[in-house]
Amino acid sequence: MSDVAQNVKKQREYKHGFITKVEVDAIEKGLNEDVIRLISQKKNEPEWMLEYRLKAFEHWQTLDEPTWADVDYPQIDFQDISYYSAPKTKEGEEAKEGPKSLEDLDPELIKTFEKLGIPIQEQKRISGVAVDMVFDSVSIGTTHKEMLDEVGVIFCSISEAVQEHPELVKKYFGKVVPYRDNFYAALNAAVFTDGSFCYIPKGVKCPMDLSTYFRINAAETGQFERTLVVADEGSFVNYLEGCTAPMRDEKQLHAAVVELIALDDAEINYSTVQNWYPGNSEGKGGVYNFVTKRGRCQGKNSKISWTQVEAGSAITWKYPSCILQGENSQGAFYSVAMTHDKMQADTGTKMIHIGKNTKSTIISKGISADGSKNSYRGLVKVLPSATNARNYTQCDSMLVGDKCAANTFPYIEMKNKTAKVEHEASTSRISADQLFYLQSRGLDMEDCIAMLVNGFCKDVFKQLPLEFSVEAVKLIEMKLENSIG
């Protein structure tokens, strides 16, 4: 294939790869205590937050980078990253506390999110989704605020929450993912710049879906966002997350932390369509996606469900987990992970059963194409206190082409005899027979493949909210084009 053709193919595959030209306020590369103080100062943070960051940083320095995941990449130079980059406001002033309103935003930014298909203008209420937009290191705006205020739902950037609702942040921040948890969680706790905060009060069913859209734009920066979702007793929320980045030849680091807390009878559904730039077909460029996501079903009868479509990133290292602490609480993990070209994904979940009668379901579908590697790594742990715990795990892999690999590494640790734990896994491919059967009924090759892949992922796609579901199906189909034949 000629270079031009290759490029055309790439353009079609990654349509979010453009760069927005906005003036940015970025700090010098490097990581040390001063940088952390500077970030904290830029965000005008109270003393306790700075202390927390510094403690995390101190701990991070004692840690070694983990190497156990089944992925290969050159060592990351943590001093060669800028830890803060924010678009300047229209007046050119520093965005000290973030833009006051959407009107203050650089029109370029608004265009960016429009290009991405994110409903930034509230007039487009028809989409029925409240969005918090995070551009590089800062949140640039949150929509539908008034409407949410009416029912008492707090949905804002985490920086704003630190200012406006310190009591809530203090109570829940870092409680599910403490900075001591792992290398990247410690790094994130030290340098996190923004993210979303959401609090659903007692008994409220959130009137619309909430969503955060992450966009990395600046070069040589890392994005370290922090999301905290708290669902108080008897509340319910659907939360969506999307992400993209421009095509750049340098690797970019994304190390986020997401914490979910569900109290008695509360339910959180967290859905992600991750489409960071995966690098070109030779594996140049792309985002390193090292994310810690964890939810705690703290109260009785609480529910947390993670649904993810992982279609981007050069390297994915992500294990959305559930701590099932409350009696009768339920955790679920539905995942489609798609890798192509030189992408590597090591993803899965952890279900920690602590409370009685806790239940968890894991459905993981991996698709590997071209020369990529896709691993499922999961842990189901039943502690002695988890009487009558129940787990069902199914992970299926599909191989497209003979140069890719699909691995499964499940861990099952069971310390209670009344628990039932089941795990099933299989590996297969789109067979010539299936394709022939569909083609003989007049479908063309691409439709056949789309249909088969759709069927393979159906159990996961049906868990997604409607808009996401359509997007996810298209995304997978698009990525698989040219892979079969």
């Binding site: 156990w68 002695p384 892999s397 191989l399 497209v400 082409g401 003979d402 140069k403 890719c404 690999a405 699909a406 691995n407 499964t408 590494f409 499940p410 861990y411 099952i412 640790e413 069971m414 310390k415 209670n416 005899k417 009344t418 628990a419 039932k420 734990v421 089941e422 795990h423 099933e424 896994a425 299989s426 590996t427 297969s428 491919r429």
Partner: protein
């Protein structure tokens, strides 16, 4: 790292023994191998729980034991202990080792053309020039490394005996061959034995082999057996292999089996783990020729504070292979079992059909099972699946028995036995199977 300094004197003594009669090329090679292995081991130590493959099994108590040479064999124990006598119940050719020493008096070797069965010590001592000639044909296999590197080093540096079997092209035996590693005797200190053995089946040959590790007596600080067996199967060769581990209560057992399979060969392995404080079985099968077929099954029944760890690794390197694994465990009291199975399918191994199943029955709320079935697939036209299921007795099954006037205790015993027999009936060698069932039926489930 876990130090092995407390085994220093054992190693030096073994080395002296070898120097006194080891001669010829292979004597030199053996000496060097022992010293090199010991050197590496001093640096690496035994694996700690930080190492992924030893995550659930802790060896640190070993370094705290005080080791002394194995005690003298008490022949009257060998001839009267019911457990050991059961070991002699299989109608088979026999090769007997007790406390690490070959016992010709209890052995019964086949005299069949084309089949060589020899204790390794006889080769070292150079008693028979034919044996030395024959050994040269399997010598390279003897040095193949497998299992955990430092456990292999431990075995290579301390080994004093073992056996080697060679079945020539298209030959077979009329009866199974039974190798017994017995531990009997009293000692206030811990002791160790490390048999290292080789089985070579040439093109088209067949063998039914049983290896039993049986311990009896009071051993104070306990002993540990570290058994390594390397198997080479030529094209079309067929091996039905069973391994029984029924050590003394305080005994530790480590075993590693590696089988290299050539074109269209057949391997059936059944491992049964019953007695012993800590048991670790590693089995590694490499399918190196097209169309080979491997059936690897295991059963573990744990009680008290026993810890049993089974690791399997099946690698398909060539096309059209088939592998099946079934590992089942019944766990009682505060015992703990680990299953870690791995299937690797290389890019070249198209049209491989591979499956693996681990099932566990938990009878006590203090028991723990850690199961880790793994798949690594790099070829697209394959069938590969694995499953793992663990849970308590099915109440409706117990109810069914109750409604037919069978007590709950009785029902539990019958269900547990049935659950276990599933594995044994995978063993197609009938004599071996009956022999193993005898041992399994000795287990008393105090429900």
């Amino acid at each position: 790292m876990i130090s092995t300094n407390n085994l220093d004197s054992i190693f030096n003594e073994g080395l002296k023994g070898l120097q006194s009669y080891g001669r010829g090329d292979f004597g030199e090679r053996l000496l060097k191998e022992k010293q090199n292995s010991w050197g590496r081991l001093q640096e690496s130590g035994l694996p700690t729980t930080k190492k992924e493959s030893w995550k659930y099994t802790d060896l640190s108590t070993l370094s705290k034991k005080e080791f002394a040479p194995a005690p003298a064999i008490e022949m009257d124990v060998l001839e009267s202990d019911p457990k050991i006598l059961r070991g002699f119940s299989l109608d088979a050719y026999r090769l007997v080792f007790a406390n690490g020493v070959y016992i010709p008096g209890l052995s019964h070797l086949p005299v069949v053309t084309g089949v060589s069965v020899t204790a390794f010590s006889e080769v070292i001592m150079g008693m028979n020039s034919d044996q030395i000639e024959n050994f040269k044909k399997v010598e390279d296999t003897y040095y193949i490394k497998h299992g955990e590197a430092s456990m292999d080093d431990l075995n290579s540096s301390l080994t004093e005996d073992g056996y080697w079997i060679r079945v020539a092209k298209n030959q077979k035996l009329d009866k199974p061959l039974h190798v017994l590693h017995l531990c009997a005797g009293e000692s206030s200190k811990a002791w160790t034995q490390s048999p290292k053995s080789v089985v070579v089946l040439e093109t088209g040959s067949e063998l039914e082999l049983v290896e039993s590790c049986i311990g009896s007596g009071d051993h104070g600080q306990g002993y540990f057996q570290n058994v390594f067996t390397t198997i080479e199967l030529g094209a079309n060769a067929r091996l039905k292999y069973s391994k029984l581990v029924d050590e003394f209560e305080s005994g530790h057992h480590f075993g590693s089996v590696k089988c290299n399979m050539q074109r269209d060969s057949f391997f059936e392995a059944t491992s049964v783990s019953l007695g012993g404080e800590l048991i670790r079985n590693d089995i590694q099968v490499d399918i190196l020729g097209e169309g080979a077929e491997a059936h690897v099954n295991g059963l573990y029944l744990t009680k008290g504070s026993q810890h049993v760890d089974n690791h399997t690794e099946i690698r398909h390197a060539k096309p059209n292979g088939l592998s099946r694994q079934l590992y089942k465990g019944i766990l009682d009291d505060q015992s703990r079992a680990v299953f870690n199975g791995k299937i690797t399918i290389d890019q070249e191994a198209q049209r491989t059909d591979s499956s693996q199943l681990n099932q566990n029955l938990l009878l006590s709320s203090k028991a723990e099972i850690d199961s880790k079935p793994e798949l690594e697939v790099s070829a697209d036209d394959v069938k590969a699946n694995h499953g793992s299921a663990s849970g308590p007795l099915d109440k409706s099954e117990v109810f069914y028995f109750n409604s037919r006037a069978i007590s709950e205790d009785e029902a539990t015993k019958m269900i547990a036995r049935g659950f276990a027999m599933d594995v044994l009936y995978k063993q197609t060698a009938e004599d071996s199977r009956k022999y193993l069932i005898q041992f399994v039926d000795q287990i008393d489930w105090n429900v």
